[in-house]
Symmetry: C3
Subunit: 396 residues, 3 copies
């Protein structure tokens, strides 16, 4: 909305926005899917389609739930809410990371109440049935009085679990495609980023009143950056995107960071490089002036900056509501340095995140109108269009 006090709009400026609001646009050679339009209304509001997504996507695909360094020691665990299910993700004594449904085999009670913790065994708070960290039932009072009862039949129900670059993924399908096969197209692509060694320094959860797909579409273009993110646009030009993954479940590329600048409130680097210093000459230049944005279908956003990595998990709650969990990861040695200032990055992106969620919520509201019809994507929105195509394929 243009308030008179703030702007003087020249109505004849037609296709270009006024200089105060949007920097001059220039033609680009960016690939563009002619005729691509946004998805029809029902994909954003229908409870039936939401249920189908939960079944076809969130109950069949590999889903990000966390990072291995959240549970560094044997006995560490955390609880994750996945497609309406509470899962226990624990590191057992061997030490292997395992996942279980958080449901006692006796009377169905939640076994773990806390969001995370450390335990030698998992004991149900109701009747004290006790499970080893590998899921085996090892204590069940009085059940030896029950004829034909066998403890071996009453282990916690396991959930499929795998690791990629240190990130923990689960899959609710009975026989899912192997994790390695799914991530094969990315093999080696991020290995110089040290992702498996990083530590999350901060987690923020956002409750967003918008369909989860709007956040993927929002993440996938910077056409909105000049108006929505004035601070970001100053250090990373909105039209500097170069995408190397342009079709399929993994999409994205990099944008340039102005020389000597950083994506922080101060504009200065806030930590040592995540890749380590001086060990990575091949990619060193690339690592300094670029921020890499990749979306990993269906619930991960991976944003790699020179000195930190931001990761979003998206958890659809209803057609019109999404829970977003955002972590800021740093080099494991970063905290030992005097100049470590993670809040400088956290505050920058927390602000930017909220700007994004706000416009996503405004889109959700408008899309629910009887007046909404799919609109045309611009030349700057080829990645959202590709994401939509992948989504439609997964739903097919």
């Amino acid at each position: 909305m243009l308030l008179r006090a703030k702007y003087t709009l020249c109505a004849s400026s037609a296709d270009s926005m006024p200089a105060k609001i949007i920097p001059a646009f220039r033609k680009t050679t960016e690939t563009f899917a002619a005729g691509a339009k946004t998805l029809p209304q029902q994909y954003f509001v229908s409870p039936e389609i939401f249920a189908e997504e939960q079944e076809r996507i969130f109950s069949r695909e590999w889903l990000l739930v966390g990072h291995q360094n959240q549970i560094a020691k044997a006995g560490d665990y955390f609880v994750s809410e996945v497609a309406g299910e509470s899962l226990i993700i624990a590191r057992d004594q061997r030490p292997t990371i395992r996942g279980f449904y958080n449901v006692c085999r006796h009377r169905g009670t939640r076994v773990c109440e806390d969001a995370s913790g450390h335990a030698l065994a998992l004991q149900c708070p109701y009747h004290a049935w006790t499970y080893a960290l590998d899921g085996r039932l090892i204590g069940a009072p009085h059940m030896d009085e029950v004829p034909e009862f066998e403890k071996a039949k009453y282990a916690l129900h396991p959930v499929n679990l795998g690791l990629w670059e240190g990130f923990i993924f689960v899959n609710l399908a009975k026989k899912p495609r192997p994790l390695e096969e799914w991530f094969a197209p990315l093999a080696g692509k991020f290995s110089h980023w040290n992702l498996s060694r990083l530590r999350s320094v901060k987690r923020v959860e956002y409750d967003v009143k918008a369909n989860w797909k709007l956040m993927f579409e929002n993440y996938s273009e910077c056409y909105h950056c000049p108006g929505v993110h004035p601070m970001l646009s100053k250090v990373s030009p909105y039209d500097s995107a170069e995408n190397d993954l342009t079709e399929g479940p993994f999409l994205g590329g990099f944008m340039r960071i102005k020389k000597g600048k950083s994506l922080t409130m101060s504009g200065d680097a806030c930590a040592i490089p995540v890749r380590g210093e001086g060990k990575d000459q091949e990619h060193e230049q690339e690592g300094k002036d670029r921020v890499f944005y990749y979306s990993i279908f269906p619930n991960m956003l991976l944003s790699m900056h020179p000195e930190y990595v931001m990761v979003h998990q998206l958890w659809p709650q209803s057609p019109e509501r999404t829970l977003i969990v955002c972590d800021w990861f740093f080099h494991p040695e970063a905290a030992k340095r005097d100049d470590f200032n993670p809040e400088d990055a956290i505050e920058f992106w927390d602000l930017t995140n909220r700007q994004d969620w706000h416009v996503c919520e405004l889109s959700q509201q408008g899309i629910a109108s009887r007046a909404y019809e799919p609109g045309p994507y611009s030349s700057r929105e080829s990645i959202p269009a590709a994401w939509d195509r992948e989504y439609v394929r997964r739903m097919g």
Copy 2:
């Protein structure tokens, strides 16, 4: 409920209520629809009937959304929620009042976020698509790179809009009956009331947990006034109603105000007459001692007092919830006078409104019971019965 400490009820008093509670009733010659009973339960609780009302009534009839003096200057606008739709009502440069769906043609985003304001153009906050105040798309960055894209095809979707006596009405139907035809039965009836010149001095919104029809039925009779509105009943006798519109979409008439009294907390007039002073000899006497109550199907209540006009908009939210927007209008010159005291009227009716909403909520609760069955309207409830008949015709 009669508490022992407050009342001594004579159980044998039969058809008359005790003097303390209800003034003596006298027989009247008021028209009475023999056999008329209240509507069956489903009309107040069924989600299916609610959806049908939204479709047959609130998507087809002319609906009050405000008054032209809310947007007095070119560029003024306000946003109205109508049947689940957000509409922009704006005065353009010509200066014509226009209505648009608040949905960007690009990705469906809400264009206007604020409830009201002033703008030179309407710019979407997401990707800065910009619309003139007449709805034309005048700015769409990068879209000139999209083959065959034509701005002329992407104007904001308009909504039908019309004015009656200065009040703004919208209609969501594709080809609605003309506003002038709808209001033809009232042509000239209120022209001496200066309605188009009045200014709203106060707006109060009420969130009422009752079906919208209960508020129309409540507004249409004063049988409840002695018990529910003791202060109102003192200055305006509950049995003084004379209705001149007794069938159809417009219903009502006047009630007497005691000589020298006013419907204010103090009992004194709080402003100059809305009709102006000394210019209206023909209706002058009528304008002094009477308050006129008219319901305008399906969402307007028009209450005209000698020195102010109260207008309710009713917005059904669910079968069991209604949003009510209430404005108090005064003569445009009223505020210039030293004796202008609008709070005296606002407080009086705010109190009276809340008394009404409370009994409507109690009715909603009881009607949802399995024990509810349509009850008999009294001789004092001919207008509620007529309103019900009109409602049933519109739903047919």
Copy 3:
């Protein structure tokens, strides 16, 4: 969950829990239904089954709503919410206790707004229709102008009501089985407990996010007591239950109280015995060292301690939510004694109640999982299994 800092768990302890958590278990001869498992998931989450329960059980069976001493004098009344209905329970002048739907016969309005009170007659707050305490319409202003209107046809709709041991029960069925027939199996069983003379000293309401059946199952076993109720377990051994009612709508028996102890925070008796002192030699010993727990299908829990009686009413609100009303009753003379200390008992059970509701809520959460399947009841859970069987019969 076992936190490392708190416990050292011996994984090889197998069927016995560590001594710190659970006292040693010993084999018992308690009857045990071989093969009995918990109910399938849909009984705890399905809206359809909930609706069927409301119809087949809560609209047909006798339901506890209160105690006759809540409305000791003619004109006393209280309002009870039963299966979505608001009922007025009042003592009339004769003085008979009667029940009515809280719905005015005129326009359906709630007649009584307050949760309880005292009245000479029941007057609707909307149009002042007035009913005698026996339900007859005795005042209806202006209705004498309505041809063929007869007050006799517009009494408040009555609801079936009966008394058992001083407790008030209602039944929404048109022709319910007589109350005396229903309670015949318990005839005389509790007569020496003075139940009809007791007075409620305290009422606490709990809003529990769990299916109502989970609270019955929870109440019916003490297998959970060692872990969930450490304080209770100290004074009343979890394995001391002796049940005398083991099949059908009335289930339960007693548990032992350690000699000289009481179920209070202090461990001391907090009031004179509910049975009176010295008048009851036959049952005297029994009355001192035992607490009796009985469930009365479908909404009453009756817990009789030597010096107080606790009664729970269970009111299902949705498949996943239950309102629980808990009263603590004492001997009518108890309050006259200097050593009367009811808070000692109230606090004890309020704490214990909340421990129970918490594990019921954890069960509700886990049972909603796709991983839940009926689990095996132990030998200590014969009464929950019997309750389930009765429930299934009532639903058949």
